[in-house]
Symmetry: C2
Subunit: 107 residues, 2 copies
């Protein structure tokens, strides 16, 4: 076993490990795209703190930003979540029959 390199799964699971970030994802999915400033207003955190979280999510491939005039709107791009599910199913699938059934359905 060689020392593993940092992969997309690292940053992906790492991004999901923070409850604030998961909340941001949920918010943006249900309410649609928003700016860091707007999101920060619904939060005890600073705009910068929220922005950093959004950037972490973006680095994980879960976000995308678009400039509109002086605003920067963030939107969720959930595709990478499929990789996370894939790892779980591939790994634990050999163990758990129920998950294994699901794995077959995704391929």
């Amino acid at each position: 076993m060689t020392r593993p390199s940092v992969t997309a799964l690292d940053t992906l699971f790492g991004a999901l490990a923070d409850p604030t970030r998961r909340l941001l994802v949920e918010r943006l999915l249900t309410n649609g795209p928003a700016t860091a400033t707007a999101l920060a207003e619904t939060t005890p955190l600073t705009r910068q703190a929220v922005l950093k979280h959004l950037q972490v999510l973006e680095a994980a491939g879960l976000m995308e930003h678009e400039r509109c005039g002086r605003e920067v709107r963030f939107r969720v791009t959930p595709q990478p979540l499929a990789s996370a599910v894939a790892w779980i199913l591939d790994t634990a699938g050999q163990w758990d029959r129920r998950l294994d059934r699901l794995r077959k359905l995704t391929s």
Copy 2:
């Protein structure tokens, strides 16, 4: 949006965020239970480093250890992974049809 508290999902996703830990999970799933010492031999890391990783995994509910004489054997308990998949499906399921299909099958 109140400041979110630390939940099981935090430690779970956090545990999965490290490539070494994912490797340990894979190893133990395919090769069966093993001790920290044995696992460390297949790794550039120290026994203590490996042990810490195993303890992180155990805190996330993904491991269980059992004492056998002077050895301590670790085994994977993958049940919590279902929560991770559940969050992903519940959250992104409303967005992605393919994941949504899966969500219905798990309920």
